[in-house]
Symmetry: C3
Subunit: 201 residues, 3 copies
């Protein structure tokens, strides 16, 4: 139940981040909606397609479509004032990361995939909506260039399977994984951490 609420909050935050990107690119209303939609569900859709879990999730559970549509309307109406919500949106977005990684890992475990593949699926669920958003917006995906984002997801996944080995119960697993992701992400943003660079300027 709590998990479902966090899932929805994350979806909404992802959708709104899509709206902001789309407005920045001056897209029309249809474009804004599509970018918001793929940002929110694109990662999970890619995951479902790659593991053969079709029809993909958002086609079978209408709540995602409704929440995203609501978030788009809200974000468009209040787009001049979204900056007041910046902290909340950032928080929901970070919670979304944690929840989506867990969803992806569970989908992989359910069909007996290797832990490393499960971590990849979790990271994909959390991060590849943003990748598709950037491709559709004709940008090199931002998570390939900077920001500790995928790294936080991978660290959370490693934590998950570390505790899994120790036979922790599911609740501990979930909370520790999500907390790992949230804390790394918050620290990374606070201290402007990036992955070490290969390039000297």
């Amino acid at each position: 139940m709590l998990f479902d609420i966090l899932d929805i909050l994350g979806t909404i935050a992802f959708a709104i981040s899509g709206v902001l990107t789309a407005l920045h690119k001056r897209l029309d209303p249809f474009g804004v909606f599509i970018i918001a939609f793929v940002t929110a569900v694109g990662g999970g859709t890619l995951r479902d397609v790659l593991i053969g879990n079709t029809p993909v999730g958002w086609m079978l559970d209408m709540k995602y479509l409704y929440c995203i549509a609501g978030a788009v309307v809200f974000a468009l109406l209040f787009r001049k004032r979204l900056s007041y919500l910046r902290t909340s949106l950032f928080l929901f977005d970070t919670i979304g990361l944690g929840v989506f990684v867990l969803v992806g890992i569970e989908k992989g475990l359910n069909i007996g995939l290797h832990p490393i593949i499960c971590i990849a699926l979790g990271t994909m669920t959390a991060c590849f909506g943003g990748v598709i958003r950037d491709i559709l917006s004709n940008e090199i995906p931002v998570i390939f260039r900077k920001e500790i984002y995928a790294t936080a997801c991978i660290a959370g996944g490693v934590m998950f399977f570390g505790l899994h080995l120790l036979n922790m119960n599911q609740q501990v697993l979930y909370i520790a994984t999500a907390l790992t992701i949230v804390v790394i992400r918050l620290l990374a943003v606070k201290y402007k951490l990036e992955l070490p660079s290969f390039y000297k300027d």
Copy 2:
């Protein structure tokens, strides 16, 4: 039968629009063919992948490949004179929209998806070949920026399910849906209609 002919005309028109984009980007013959192909079948392919209808349609019915190959050769041979065919091509393209939306809606209905998802599948079938074409050509998809195109498809889908509720027979459904799409598209182009803009210059 008529439906099949219209389907083919639409496929050809979509393929030729792909050829024109590819020539504009100065692609080589292989690139021209691939862009024509994805423009023509990319929307249906994405739909099939997302609903799990695999192998995707064009792998099982060779007529699409042959028609597209023929259209590409034709368009390349007569590329200096395609402007004489502009009106016909525009008409076929618009007919294609109508037919492809119907195909997508039917695929969704067949597996019991929600009407809104069916409309999304219809719109995807009609419009996402062009989106993939634009991504491969390194452009922000044109239907995200301007043109009443997806909007016409969505309106057609709404018409379909409105009449469906009224228990109209299939033929009426099909004709009314396709006409809605064609008329909105024609009016939009004639009067240069666009979706309302969020941006002031």
Copy 3:
């Protein structure tokens, strides 16, 4: 067995070509790994998704992930000296083309698809990792613009089915197909062959 070794050599060569592209685009370590990964397995992944062979191959056989990870680390450590390996890498890359085309053709044959579709699947397996790499790097795919690359794959596929008609045994088929691809590719690079151009400058 030999086939498996060649498959791995090709995968490694493709991954390293991905690393080089990613470094050129100044991506961070995560971006470098993802680009290397999609370059190496993206073509096969797209093929598996389109024919419904899911979970896709690299999720079930961990050797691809390990080889790619190893290749990425190697390429990053020795990136200043990779130019000494240029000839070997080019050779492995070309071997990869031959092997991947054969893998794709066999996957299509196994589910009874038309020979032309099998050739398309082989070409896709060999070439579309590079296409996805270029899209993620915000470039028009290089094989749409120049280079005899896909053409060599298609020619190999035609050779395969030509000999297939003549009831040649599998070993002859495989060797002749791979040789056709390798020889065309080598000649094309040596003599700087390109597909004929539609454009005059």
